[in-house]
């Protein structure tokens, strides 16, 4: 069911483009309050140690230092995003008794300036008793391994199993069974804006926190609980945020410390992380070890999959439980597996905690799926695209325990990508040193499972309309650069028949925008907040239509509509009245009450994972230098299904940004670690692709209509980060004969593994 849209589907420039292009957009570190103190955090130099004693006296007496705190000064309340299962909440804002990774937060100082705070850190004396550390999955799960958390003697903090069909029987009846082990590495979200927080305490003791976050609501709740305060006494405001990609979706130590010290000293406090801290101790994508076994019939029909995944979680759970669930969910996506078994285990190691990062378990899981499909295609003698089409999921497919696929353009995407790239010719008549490869993806449009245990709707929106023909949209949704403010305005403008400039938006302030919104993660905002906006807009329209209908004495059979700033009977568009006049009429009919409506969205009866899945296929062409093993990606072709495209330019931006991230994941980005210490803590050594590294790309939108999505839309922000690494790995194999099963694909590995 497609509709003609006026604003939806267009390349509408961002709401905040001008503010950002003129430097007037205010980010957290740009905020300066009178009397503001500057905070710094003392971090553990050891990967695993017991804290015997902390002496802060010398630091506290340094002139200019106003406050020094350690874990002992705090209420000692653990936190974590998985409130539904309190056992998973394993982190204190500042370490109590023990540190579990290099960079773990031990103490905080606030002083009149940042230099003084930094100097004071050196005066804090911590006595540690070093403990043996564990730095990889195999050592962590070995019998007798050192234990990170007392409650978790085997170091496995989360177990997740999915099982349907009879996997053993499926393999027994298969003509071809393939088993591989894949290792994928940790990478950094590497958002350009380092984390920062500014807190202020009012005379009643209430806290206002400005913070660089993707999840204002989660920060509000967890800050309140760790401070021992009431949720409503904490106000979280998200200023402009310089990217997050999953790395800013939890309460973090500096947010707590800023608030705690502000309350203690009565002065505003700012903490801003350095890039070195971000790389040394910041959240990262999970490294995983994946054992995958798949079976096929001779003709290429899939019979089943057995997937075992260990996630390298680092010192704390962070968003690891979700990643553990999702890597199993994604293992069952893209293709029809009549039999499927998954067992995922989240493992503690003495490294910086892994957490959410764009794709949330899928880039890892689908790297294995997609690489194995390419291996199987080769061994079965079937074209990889043909093999995929044969097994591809389609609209209406059900995945037990996971979801029902309500829209799916996967087969069309595969066909389109093949056509755009000239697949047949390049794959079967390759030039020397060149290769072409494929990778595919599916992703969720937000999560259904209520791990945060909120009592509120997952998304909410308030719409106010005025007699001057304008509207005001209020939402807690967090625009962190992905552009949801613009997309939500487009949805509202479309539904009310207004122009973009008629709509004012207030977003992501927990005390003034409607409760609640779970935040910017899991590619959820277009779907979930979009639906909430639509719900509110429909309620506004119902009120307007009642008033207009009564005033015009319309026959009951007339349907009304809103377009081009007018409200009119659809069969008699000439009899319309201006939107603002309709608002005035509705108000006058209702004792002058302002016309305000709230809309909500919480998925129900949509399984445990998501209301809707995106799909897509990506093909990459590479050239590999035969002497040096250096890979140059020449071009990408992507065909993707995100349902209705709400903003063409924004969707393309998501794709092109995903390619940069996927390219880094495949070829250049990695943490160089030694005994738990991250050695490459700057952008010079953490090799994120620059403008000269990223090749051009072509895109085709395969438009489907997602019945659950607002105006037919589903996700476009994260799924696209998935296919790039497997597509490059396949192209490198095509060019060199080297099949990468452990990312990243480095020249050394290619030279060692290539077949001439």
């Amino acid at each position: 069911m497609k509709k003609d849209f006026s604003i939806v589907g267009k390349s509408v420039p961002r709401n905040d483009g001008k503010a950002k292009a003129t430097g007037t957009a205010t980010y957290t570190d740009d905020i300066k309050l009178p009397g503001m103190l500057h905070g710094k955090i003392l971090r553990s130099p050891f990967p695993h140690a017991r804290i015997l004693n902390i002496d802060t006296s010398r630091a506290a007496s340094l002139p200019g230092v106003k406050c020094v705190i350690t874990g002992e000064d705090t209420p000692k309340i653990k936190y974590g995003n998985w409130r539904l299962f309190p056992d998973t909440q394993d982190e204190y804002p500042l370490a109590i008794d023990k540190v579990r990774f290099i960079g773990d937060e031990v103490a905080a100082v606030a002083a009149v300036d940042a230099d003084t705070a930094e100097e004071a850190l050196e005066l804090i004396k911590v006595d540690y008793e070093e403990l043996p550390g564990i730095f990889d999955i195999d050592s962590a799960i070995k019998e007798g391994a050192p234990v990170l958390h007392d409650y978790c003697p085997g170091n496995i903090s989360v177990n997740r199993k999915i099982h349907y069909g009879d996997i053993e029987k499926a393999f027994a009846e298969s003509d071809y069974v393939r088993e591989d082990v894949f290792n994928v590495h940790a990478v950094s979200p590497a958002y350009l804006e380092p984390c920062a927080a500014v807190a202020q305490c009012d005379l009643d003791g209430r806290i206002t926190l400005w913070t660089s976050t993707q999840v204002p609501y989660i920060v509000q709740c967890l800050l309140a609980s760790t401070m021992g305060m009431r949720e409503n006494d904490v106000r979280v405001i998200k200023p402009f945020v310089g990217g997050g990609f999953g790395g800013k979706m939890e309460l973090r130590t500096w947010e707590f410390c800023a608030a705690f010290i502000a309350k203690k000293t009565g002065r505003p406090v700012k903490f801003t992380m350095t890039r070195e801290e971000e790389f040394l101790a910041g959240r990262r994508r999970h490294a995983m070890k994946l054992y995958s076994k798949v079976g096929f019939k001779k003709d290429g029909t899939l019979t089943g999959k057995d997937l075992r995944i260990y996630l390298d979680g680092g010192g704390y759970n962070a968003m690891g439980p979700t990643a553990t669930f999702l890597c199993g969910t994604f293992g069952a996506m893209l293709y029809r597996y009549p039999n499927y078994r998954f067992w995922g285990q989240h493992v503690y190691t003495n490294k910086p905690p892994a957490s959410a990062m764009r794709g949330f378990g899928a880039p890892q899981s689908l790297f294995a799926t997609e690489s194995q499909m390419n291996i199987a295609a080769e061994e079965l003698g079937i074209d990889p695209i043909e093999l995929r089409i044969k097994n591809a999921q389609v609209t209406g497919d059900e995945i037990p325990d996971v979801a029902t696929i309500s829209s799916c353009g996967f087969i069309e995407a595969l066909q389109k990508a093949a056509e755009m790239s000239g697949w047949k010719e390049k794959r079967y008549s390759p030039k020397p040193g060149q290769g072409i490869g494929i990778g595919c993806y599916s992703f969720i449009s937000g999560g259904v499972f209520n791990w945060f245990n909120t009592q509120f709707p997952f998304s909410a929106a308030e719409v106010r309309v005025f007699d001057d023909g304008t509207a005001h949209l209020l939402t807690m949704a967090a625009d962190i650069g992905q552009g949801c403010d613009t997309v939500l305005k487009q949805i509202l403008a479309e539904e009310l028949g207004l122009k973009m400039e008629d709509i004012r938006i207030t977003s992501a302030d927990t005390s003034t925008t409607p409760q609640a919104d779970l935040g910017a993660w899991g590619s959820r905002l277009t779907m979930m907040n979009g639906n909430a906006v639509l719900d509110a807009a429909k309620k506004i329209k119902a009120q307007l239509f009642g008033a207009v209908s009564a005033r015009q004495n319309l026959n009951v059979i007339h349907e009304l509509g809103c377009k081009d700033g007018m409200v009119f009977p659809k069969s008699r568009p000439d009899r319309g009245i201006p939107f603002g006049e309709a608002v005035a009429m509705a108000q006058k009919a209702n004792r002058g009450e302002p016309l305000v409506e709230r809309g909500y969205y919480t998925p129900r009866d949509k399984g445990l994972v998501t209301p809707a899945f995106s799909f897509g296929a990506q093909i990459s062409e590479v050239e590999v230098d035969k002497d040096t093993g250096v890979v140059r990606v020449k071009k990408f072709w992507t065909a993707h299904d995100c349902g209705t495209v709400i903003n063409q330019m924004a969707v393309e931006g998501q794709l092109e940004g995903s390619i940069q991230m996927g390219l880094g994941y495949a070829l250049s980005e990695q943490f160089v670690m030694e005994d738990g210490k991250t050695l490459n803590t700057n952008f010079l050594d953490y090799k994120m692709p620059n403008a000269m590294d990223v090749p051009p790309s072509e895109v085709a939108h395969i438009e489907t209509y997602e019945p659950e999505g607002p105006m037919g839309a589903k996700e476009a922000g994260e799924g696209l980060a998935i296919p790039t690494a497997p597509a490059i790995a396949d192209a490198v194999h095509h060019a060199t004969g080297y099949r990468c099963k452990d990312l990243p694909i480095t020249p050394e590995k290619i030279l060692a593994g290539k077949k001439d």
Binding site: S11, K18, D29, L192, F240, G243, R275, G481, G653, F683
Partner: protein
């Protein structure tokens, strides 16, 4: 020991007292209050703090404020005139070259210096000119397209 210096920023004179170790980035951001200049790494790797100094784009985090005394500095706030946005700013907004915005100031200033000396650069020249400015959101494609469109 602080020392008084004069800085010329966006054609305005500022008299500021600075420490010898203070970077130009910090003085611009925290003393003068022009926070459009961003701090992404403080080691000269990301380009978020790019300003134009005597016609050349520089990482202001690698310049001591004292070294900048007497030099002509343009920050992102200096581009807009009474007639409106600079064409480079306009192109960034219209072409979708802005996402989170944190690299945007530096990116625009690097692009502007390129266009000032080479009004019709090709794609390779554009990519080279902005290769010192990292972006994590856009994949650079729309940025390149925006710069290409400026003098078209």
């Amino acid at each position: 020991m602080k020392k008084l210096i004069n800085l010329t920023i966006n054609d305005k004179e500022y008299e500021v007292a600075v420490e010898p170790n203070q970077t130009l980035t910090d003085v611009i951001r925290y003393d003068i209050g022009l926070t459009g200049t961003k701090k992404g790494c403080e080691t000269g790797d990301c380009g978020s703090c790019t300003v134009i100094m005597d016609g050349k784009p520089v990482n202001s985090c690698l310049v001591l404020a004292m070294q900048a005394a007497g030099r002509n500095i343009t920050t992102i706030e200096g581009l807009e005139t009474e007639d409106g946005l600079d064409p480079v700013q306009e192109a960034f907004v219209e072409k979708g070259a802005v996402q989170c915005g944190f690299c945007t100031s530096g990116m625009i200033l690097s692009a502007k210096t390129l266009l000032d000396r080479n009004p019709n650069p090709n794609e390779a020249e554009i990519r080279s000119a902005i290769s010192g400015n990292l972006c994590r959101c856009t994949g650079y494609q729309k940025i390149v397209e925006a710069v290409e469109s400026v003098n078209k």
